[in-house]
């Protein structure tokens, strides 16, 4: 049995091609025991292929899959101690809920009493107690999703693979199931390898997010790291809303970078020190922009006029023209901007809110 802190899966320089298309390009990744890791990316980025390689449904062209210290690259799915929740759930229509959940246990050669005990445990965990005798076509979408989860958890796998299991649910139910899923993961202590194209899902549930694009890892980190410090333009744009600012480096002082952008001076923080004169792109989240009626004492403030205002209840989204047709988006959560003159507002932000991107 693996304990927390151990490496459950090591993807050792995996490459997978389909014809001329490189689906997964030299991917190297470790997943720790008890972790909820989400592979996030647009369709065709290689996230599902990676999942299927771990499950044993695809063979990598190069590299090794190591599960709990054992090289399973050449092993078929039925020999791997890894289970999967399929996107369409793939419940067996001719078996009851209990039959579906017991399937993996029967094949493991468990005794009837052991199977029954585990069934009760799982049906209780997933609140399916009264549904054991139903067949899949008598269940709602959310119930089917839970049965699929119970079935995959039943053989007590070292790793659970989840291939967009919430995509078939409606938006309201999805938000609820996200929290339930995270809760189940925490209670069972299982390692979850989750795949989705939905950034909201990824941010809500994950301990760690791996953003993939064109078969490569763009960035890997906690949801907070990815959101506040996206490493690349792709990540900044894929996760949440963002304003991109492209300017020239005019001064570098340790971490403090000064940018020259459309005649204004802007401050940013960065660990990388780009050469002076280089054109760089920086990102700032809309809710990090501070609006004021008067110019703040700080340097690096911009003046603009509000061109669009959308009230969203708890927050208000403002589009602000800062000259030369450049529009920055800001989000404010209180009515403070009500006092500002829409024709003349000042924008500012803390230097560490502006993140320099790798292109």
């Amino acid at each position: 049995m693996t304990s927390s802190g151990d490496v459950v899966v090591h993807l050792d320089q995996i490459t997978k091609r389909f014809g001329d298309v490189v689906a997964v390009d030299d991917l190297d990744m470790e997943i720790m025991a008890g972790e909820f890791v989400t592979f996030l990316g647009p369709s065709g980025c290689g996230k599902s292929t990676t999942l299927r390689i771990v499950g044993g449904f695809e063979r990598p062209d190069a590299g090794r899959v190591i599960v709990a210290g054992e090289d399973v690259t050449a092993q078929p799915p039925n020999k791997r101690n890894v289970n999967m929740v399929f996107q369409d759930y793939a419940l067996f229509p001719h078996m009851t809920v209990a039959g579906n959940i017991a399937f993996g246990l029967e094949l493991k050669g468990k005794s009837r009493s052991e199977i029954d005990r585990r069934l009760v445990e799982l049906l209780t965990l997933l609140e399916l107690e009264t549904l054991g005798k139903r067949t899949p076509d008598q269940l709602s979408g959310g119930q089917r999703q839970r049965v699929a989860l119970a079935r995959a958890l039943a053989p007590d796998p070292q790793l659970l693979l989840l291939d967009e299991p919430l995509a078939a649910l409606d938006a309201k139910l999805r938000a609820q199931v996200q929290l339930e899923l995270k809760d189940i993961q925490r209670r069972t202590g299982k390692t979850f390898f989750f795949v989705t194209h939905d950034q909201d899902e990824a941010l809500t549930m994950s301990d760690r997010i791996v953003v993939m694009n064109e078969g490569r890892v763009e960035q890997c980190g906690t949801p907070e790291e990815l959101y506040h410090h996206p490493a690349s333009r792709f990540v900044a744009e894929f996760i949440g809303e963002t304003n991109l600012i492209t300017g020239k480096v005019s001064a570098v002082d340790g971490e403090h970078i000064t940018l020259d952008w459309q005649g204004a001076t802007i401050h940013a923080l960065s660990e990388q020190s780009p050469p002076i004169g280089q054109t760089v792109t920086a990102a700032i989240r809309p809710e990090r922009i501070v609006l004021s009626a008067e110019r703040q004492a700080k340097e690096g403030a911009l003046q603009g006029q509000i061109v669009k205002r959308v009230f969203k209840g708890s927050r208000t989204v403002l589009d602000i023209d800062v000259g030369n047709g450049t529009v920055l988006r800001a989000v404010v959560t209180d009515g403070a901007f009500g006092q500002v003159d829409p024709k003349q507002v000042w924008l500012s932000w803390e230097p560490d809110r502006l993140t320099l991107l790798r292109d």
Partner: protein, 259 residues
């Protein structure tokens, strides 16, 4: 569709239905005629002919003989047809079109040609005319129907079902037995009823491949040659009712094949 067109089309349809069923009705009716000769007028009715069918050792033996052949050839056809369907399955391989064409061929070859060639072939293999030869002949004819029905069903089986079974620890054999086969069940039931009917109904192959022991259609044919009598009507009616019931029941299953 306008009201008048609808009425006109309904009338034509019902005229067709009458045309279709009058011969069958006549056949059933004549079986009740209290006379040795078929035709109008019917002066008296009797149950004698129908009771005779169930009392005649000859008819019962021929029925058992026909059913044995039908069941055996159906069982063989199911195995070979399913096998072929799995082979053709979802995979693409070189020569798939050729295998597919070869699979369908026996279903479209005219019965008489197929019967003669099978007769020659059976002699070549030194298979005596009789039950075994008929069973093998019917099997050749039935396999394409099984293969096509099973293929249609198989193409709707989501790949994830098989992957889920593999994922939960099943090897290929267990996956086939516990997932694929139950999924194919409605197709297999539909196909087997169809095969039973095809075999039971077959005249040409049974005639050419049979020995002196006749199957049901061959018996009716033989009796016809010695003159039309209400006895034949009664035999034919019993066969008609049995096959119609079986056929309609199978149709119910067939409809489940395409979800």
């Amino acid at each position: 569709m306008s009201g008048r067109t609808r009425v006109l089309m309904s009338v034509i349809y019902w005229a067709f239905v009458v045309y279709l069923f009058v011969p069958l009705m006549l056949m059933v009716l004549m079986g009740f005629k209290d006379s040795k000769f078929i035709g109008f007028p019917i002066r008296g009715y009797t149950m004698e002919w129908y009771l005779g069918v169930f009392q005649s050792a000859e008819v019962i033996n021929v029925f058992i003989y026909s059913m044995t052949i039908a069941i055996a050839s159906t069982a063989l056809s199911l195995v070979i047809g399913t096998w072929t369907a799995l082979l053709l399955g979802p995979h693409r391989f070189f020569g798939r079109a050729v295998v597919f064409a070869l699979t369908c061929l026996p279903a479209v070859i005219p019965g008489i040609i197929s019967a003669i060639s099978l007769r020659i072939y059976a002699r070549l293999l030194e298979i005596e005319p009789g039950m075994l030869a008929i069973i093998l002949g019917h099997t050749v004819h039935n396999v394409p129907f099984v293969a096509l029905v099973v293929m249609a069903r198989l193409s709707t089986l989501p790949k994830s079902q098989l992957e889920a079974a593999r994922d939960l620890g099943a090897d290929e054999a267990v996956t086939f037995l516990r997932i694929t086969l139950p999924y194919l069940k409605p197709a297999l039931i539909g196909a087997s009823v169809f095969c039973l009917l095809l075999s039971f109904d077959d005249f040409v192959r049974s005639f050419f491949l049979g020995s002196y022991e006749p199957t049901m259609p061959v018996l009716i044919f033989a009796k016809l040659r010695s003159g039309m009598s209400p006895e034949i009507n009664a035999i034919a009616t019993v066969a008609l009712v049995l096959t119609a019931v079986l056929g309609l029941w199978a149709e119910r299953w067939n409809r489940r094949i395409t979800p």
